[in-house]
């Protein structure tokens, strides 16, 4: 990928797209919704370029825009009585996983989607984006103690949700196991 010289700000945005797509997909659990959000996020970023105080914080700035767009989308869906279909959540991701891992991928994405947005967000900032607790605290404007307790709760709830998925879907497990057999 060679980034064009025409506009450095747009070029910097483009450079952040792959990371942001990964984060968005994990946050919403759905590749196509994540792509729509990333596109909306980029358009909003262009319109609000003036609000980026420090270019080195562009990744966090984009994540904040994306989260706000996602919360807007959820509010809109709630007001219309529409929810994201769980089956839709898993398919794209499961199909991109090796056959042996598809059952586990489905379990994981389902379990992740049961967490609150706050818990998903903090799990992703630390576990996927690799931010330190201090960096997360700065990005979210919260004390480190709050970050620690929220993250610990998020981990606990994810584990509980995973245990529940595995208990509820023994047939899926068997099916996934069979598919894994060459």
């Amino acid at each position: 990928m060679t980034v064009a010289r025409t506009d450095p700000f747009a070029a910097a945005l483009i450079a952040h797209v792959p990371r942001l797509r990964s984060y968005a997909t994990a946050l919403v659990g759905n590749v196509s919704t994540a792509d729509d959000l990333v596109q909306d996020c980029m358009e909003r970023a262009l319109r609000r370029a003036d609000t980026l105080q420090d270019p080195r914080r562009m990744a966090g700035w984009l994540r904040s825009i994306l989260l706000n767009l996602y919360l807007d989308l959820m509010r809109l869906q709630r007001s219309r009585g529409v929810g994201i279909e769980l089956a839709q959540i898993d398919n794209d991701l499961a199909l991109s996983s090796p056959a042996a891992d598809r059952g586990a991928t489905i379990d994981f994405t389902r379990a992740l989607s049961t967490l609150s947005v706050e818990h998903r967000q903090i799990l992703l900032l630390v576990g996927l984006e690799g931010l330190s607790y201090r960096e997360v605290a700065d990005e979210l404007g919260l004390p480190i103690g709050t970050i620690m307790s929220r993250l610990a709760r998020a981990r606990e709830r994810l584990r509980m949700a995973l245990d529940k998925e595995r208990t509820l879907n023994p047939i899926d497990q068997l099916s996934a196991g069979r598919k894994a057999t060459p």
């Binding site: 990928m1 060679t2 980034v3 064009a4 010289r5 025409t6 506009d7 450095p8 700000f9 747009a10 070029a11 910097a12 945005l13 483009i14 450079a15 797209v17 792959p18 990371r19 797509r21 990964s22 997909t25 994990a26 792509d35 990333v38 596109q39 980029m42 358009e43 262009l46 370029a49 003036d50 420090d54 270019p55 080195r56 914080r57 562009m58 990744a59 966090g60 991701l93 996983s97 891992d101 586990a104 991928t105 994981f108 799990l123 992703l124 576990g127 996927l128 690799g130 607790y133 201090r134 960096e135 700065d138 620690m148 307790s149 993250l151 610990a152 981990r155 606990e156 584990r159 995973l162």
Partner: protein, 258 residues
Amino acid sequence: MSHENGITTEELSAYIDGEIDPARAAEIDKLIEANSELANRIAAFRADQERLLQIFGPLRDVPPPPKLVQLLEERSVSQRARRTPYSQLGIFALAASLLLVIGLGFGYFRYFNAQQEDTIISEAVAARSDAVHADQSFAANAFNSPQAGDQIVASTLMMNLKAPDLTRMGYRLENVSVYSGVPGGKAVELGYRDAQNRLFTLYLRHPSGPARVDLLQRDGMRLCVWQDEELGTVMLGEMSAGEMARLASLAYSGLTSS
């Protein structure tokens, strides 16, 4: 805050992330040895963490959709055209206007800028190949504190910066070199190596051209120039464009001191 085997859930979580005091981490290590249930619990949390990266991490290797790239380039041009030059281009636009007004001419300005932009790349390549002698060089394994690299970067460039942590991408800081006699005074080169002994260098100094982000290939080497109004960076390594884009993003965002 709940307690389990003398460990709070917050401590357990911080232990997994390596965000706990080393003395307390050593105590937890001993508790784990004596308690298989606790060991299993930590292993399960770590497995969840790995699964998260395994599922969503590879999405970072997927290049941006061409339609989105095209849209961004087109919209950025139309957005910028509606903005005032001073608010967006700042000091560079003002400097450019003044240079034009005093008669240096647009052609010379372009030539001048191109020369300066190439200079930062040449400097970075020379530093990486040891074609230029560093004023000072520090081995990271001899640092007496984890923040020593940050302090060298910040004090040399007189900016609130730190040596980015690239361990997530498998690169560890190996050495820090300081150079003088460059535009803006001094420059810093941070050398990182991965498990395959591949070298990634991050060259930092004050900028000498307009803001830019370029991903280029030169002599079998991938090169990323990422420059804003305050800092010029050149990143070099033998790797794919995708890997360089990820490393560059991690390195650039990791420069900000928290």
